[in-house]
Symmetry: C2
Subunit: 160 residues, 2 copies
DNA sequence: GTAATTTATTTCAAACTTAAAACATTTAGG
DNA sequence: CCTAAATGTTTTAAGTTTGAAATAAATTAC
């Protein structure tokens, strides 16, 4: 056996990358499950709602529905439902766009901004505790590596 | 300002960890989106179905519903639905457990095993291509780091 | 200017997901 | 035994998610 060492090596790389992906997925799911649980028990809310509010909090002037779904990388129809429910609760508002009656701007209400600020502070503390194992320097370095990886993935996607 | 340097430093660590989490989430979602798209177009299937079949493929003798949901870290009721649909398609089968009429064993059918083998090979190739940026050694080292992190997270969860 | 195309969003059907309730069965304690 | 607690699974209600179809409005091309 092992008459084709270059093939064996390629296989090895493939297996290592697959293993990495499975671990990445496991850790991400674990953290998400924990965050979801806490959002539910502490704030009677959900992660998707938090994600939408987080995106809006970075844009005082509001975001169009399409921009929102672009930022969050979820489908248009998905955002519609979440924004509907947030609006019912008075946390976000839909504002018409002057000069384009197709579009809507979504913004946090004053109460929404208040509620989000409280949740964001806790959220950051939860993450900090869960990733306490990693030093700030280690976190910085992994984040940087992931950034270049994400960039490469986006480049590939753009070619289609 | 900066009269409390120890606080500033703690804040820094917290911000770095939060940034890392957001990148982790972004990369994971990007890869998942790509895998889902390919599962759909190439195999007319979904990621959750693939995940269930992958778990079953590692257990020739089959898995109980509860073991399956434990391995996949999803809720019991969730697995029920996915297994229902896989069973309709003749890819998995429910087998009664001798001596315990509450439990069910789920196993891949012969056709299910065949179908999964094809999908798994492609799946591994997709991952390999998406993570080609990472050398096998780099992948191995990150996977190891994630493993210890996952372990720590599990330990914390076990304390509740 | 009107028709065709593009853009922005919502609606829809199907699947996935969760937590909690319901159900069935088994195990343990008196 | 027989009842209470524990275990294994499904059902249910609500929300999330997708991709595709529908709707509406704006833009482009005759």
């Amino acid at each position: 056996m092992n008459t084709q060492p270059e093939l064996r090596l390629a296989e090895q790389g493939s297996k290592q990358r697959l293993r990495l992906w499975l671990r990445l997925l496991a850790v991400t799911r674990k953290i998400e499950a924990e965050l979801r649980e806490r959002m539910r028990t502490e704030f009677d809310s959900t992660l998707p709602r938090f994600d939408v509010m987080a995106a809006l909090s970075r844009h005082d002037q509001g975001l169009r529905m399409s921009a929102l779904s672009g930022v969050l990388r979820v489908s248009n129809g998905n955002v519609t439902g979440i924004v509907d429910r947030l609006a019912e609760d008075g946390l976000v508002m839909r504002v018409p766009v002057a000069g384009d009656r197709r579009a809507t701007l979504v913004r946090l209400t004053a109460r929404g901004a208040e509620v989000f600020a409280r949740q964001a502070a806790e959220h950051e503390a939860w993450i900090d505790a869960m990733l306490a194992e990693l030093s700030p320097e280690e976190a910085r370095s992994y984040a940087a590596r992931l950034r270049t990886l994400a960039q490469k993935l986006d480049d590939k996607g753009a070619m289609e």
